[in-house]
Symmetry: none
Subunit: 414 residues, 2 copies
């Protein structure tokens, strides 16, 4: 099955935003065996959209359109689609109720512009959008499926996950596909590739391996294609078992597991809690932890000790250590970890202190130098890392590495 | 002058990489008044490239092609272009010397595959690539310019900056483009659209307005097109001034300004510092603040008080208030703001407490109920909000709203 993606709107064409939607959609479509033939970004003019639709339908079985569906008048997509499919706009009552309910929950006044979002082309099947006011629309025309969705990433992702991907997967029954995603942390892509080379070369021909890297985390995706789902499942399981013996520590989870979630489950299992003392990570570790619903069961809280005064006053870091060794040092990060454990009354703790950049580097401690400590009932472990010269990535890698150090300590203590 | 971008290669189509090249190119091209009509990502097959070239030349004066030029055999672009322009491959001696020199510098052995990169179509002008081994190629055919560049970001950027942008800028003196982005916070898209309706309807025909929404923040973009750059600049400035009188409080910045950055500059101007007490936002406010380089000049730190125990012990919230009113209450959020100001010794503070969801809602305090307080030298202000039923967005909107409340307090205190 061939698909194409059309994104509408000037933001991408003038370079104001990077098109991350298409990459996400392509990954998800690939995972159900749908191949992307082309991705096209066009401006928000009727002529250009019609031309893009006409070109795409020549090549593709499915055309996915994002953008151009907000309440404001620079969004003309719905009218163009209504004309393109020779239909007319009618009111879709469930969408109207959804819009009214969303405004009621937010305590906002509703105006006609919002209610108009419930007008849809008569010929389409409406995909109810519980994350926003613009509905998704599914059209079928001459054996080609066209789906229109809003361009706001979380609304598009909701409609894809809840409606579009299941429908597309159901449309094809000739070929079975088994995917397995393995989440790894703490190994670089090139080192991972070298470590896995022999295993990869010996994979059966019908199993494909993809590396999906992001800062600190590399996902490995196995995709098996064939006529017999059971054969695929068994072979993929066997390959994952082999992988576990090659990189046992680096694998922290599967599928969409988050590192903070996995670590939290280990804490919950022993009914222990963690607290965090953040200097260079500035709150990101806490944010990653609290992004997980239910994290209050294992997370006490944190002290973001951005100034030395806070390190001394709230975490009892000694002023002489700060003077003698500097904030970015083993001595200080250990005291931070031990101090926050006492101040917040938890069994485990994490502490970070580093030079995130772009300023603050010295010849001895260049930008990217980071100390991380984790502390448990038995011991405190501290390690020094040298990451990159990019502030954003230093903060992200430090946060993930710190969570991983806690995970490994919890596994050892089991 | 109209341009189109064609990117070649499966990495984008399978979602393995996000296409950041196109956004960079679009921004640079816009800055010299070149308008991007379409961005197309295609697979590395000859038929698909020829089709994309044929479609692009109908609409554009300039077609920029990236990707498909590496030494490995899955890169077929050069051969397809040679045939497409009815030419033949010849050796380009300066490119060969460049390739040899690059391998010598890296201490690597050179093989025929590398030397072949110096073969170019006879009809093109070669753009010497001092950052890599694949040269850029400039073709002119029936008044349309085609430029082929490697897809490696720093090589593409080198060729664009050194060769392509100067040449294109020299080619055009007919049309100018002026963009201005206005950042707003605290008003929903539909309410903003209604408030700005009259102003928008009275915009000159050559100025276009676009709404670029994201959770909590809506960017407005004015784009003006015309022959006289000064006229455009003046008219856009006049329209922005009008806008400032319509929504003075909602505009927090321009261009790529971040809310945390703008708020920090207000604090720096009065040499004051802020501290944060985060419950439902769980560290995100601190993370947004510390994402800004230099934020240590105005940010003391934070207490992420995820448990009531931390609220009492570190922030001196009274246990009777926690019992009587609950953690999500005006009384508690005020005490958190005032407590963190004292504990971390700052002039200003922010506090949040709310039901982020998905669990924890009650009939009186459903998911999305959030109390925010900001405290300064003169007073503490607390407000209650009802956001959505989505945890991630509740955390994000609470964080941005809290920063905005601090910004407004700082403006009032000026």
């Amino acid at each position: 099955m061939q698909a194409e993606i059309i994104t509408i709107g000037d933001e991408i064409l003038i370079g104001q935003i990077v098109d991350t939607n298409s990459a996400w959609m392509a990954t998800e479509l690939n995972s159900i065996g749908v191949n992307i033939a082309q991705i096209t970004s066009i401006s928000d003019t009727p002529e250009h959209l019609v031309e893009a639709l006409n070109n795409a339908r020549k090549r593709a079985d499915v055309v996915l359109i994002t953008g151009g569906l907000g309440p404001t008048k620079d969004d003309r997509t719905k009218k163009v689609l209504t004309e393109y499919f020779g239909s007319e706009l009618i009111l879709h009552e469930p969408t109207l109720q959804n819009v009214i309910e969303m405004f009621r929950l937010r305590g906002l006044d509703i105006i006609q512009l919002n209610k108009d979002q419930a007008l849809v082309p008569k010929c389409c099947q409406v995909l109810l959008n519980k994350q926003g006011t613009a509905p998704g629309m599914w059209f079928e025309d001459d054996n080609v499926v066209f789906v229109s969705m809003p361009g706001v990433p979380f609304e598009m992702k909701y409609l894809m996950t809840e409606h579009v991907l299941p429908r597309l997967a159901a449309m094809r029954n000739d070929l079975h596909i088994v995917h397995r995603t393995i989440q790894t942390v703490g190994i670089s892509e090139s080192f991972l590739a070298r470590t896995l080379e022999t295993w990869e070369d010996n994979l059966p021909e019908y199993i494909h391996l993809a590396y999906l890297p992001s800062p600190g985390i590399i996902r490995l995706r196995l995709s098996a294609f064939g006529p017999d789902a059971t054969v695929l499942e068994n072979e993929v399981n066997a390959q994952v078992e082999k992988l576990q013996t090659i990189i046992p520590d680096a694998i922290y989870g599967y599928g969409n597991d988050k590192l903070s979630d996995v670590t939290g489950n280990l804490l919950k299992a022993i009914n222990a809690k963690v607290s965090v003392a953040e200097s260079c990570t500035g709150g990101l570790i806490s944010h990653l932890i609290t992004s997980v619903p239910g994290s209050s069961k294992w997370f006490k809280g944190a002290v973001v000790a951005y100034s030395n005064e806070v390190k001394s006053n709230l975490l009892q870091v000694s002023e002489s250590s700060l003077c003698e060794f500097g904030a970015v040092s083993e001595s200080v990060v250990r005291q931070m970890a031990e101090g926050v454990k006492i101040a917040l009354n938890s069994e485990y703790s994490i502490a970070t202190s580093g030079v995130a950049g772009p300023d603050g580097g010295t010849p001895e401690k260049p930008v990217g130098t980071v100390w991380i400590a984790v502390s448990g009932p038995k011991e405190t472990v501290a390690k020094c890392f040298t990451f990159s010269n990019n502030r954003e990535r230093n903060i992200e890698r430090t946060s993930l590495t710190a969570l991983d150090m806690l995970r490994l300590m919890l596994l050892q203590n089991q």
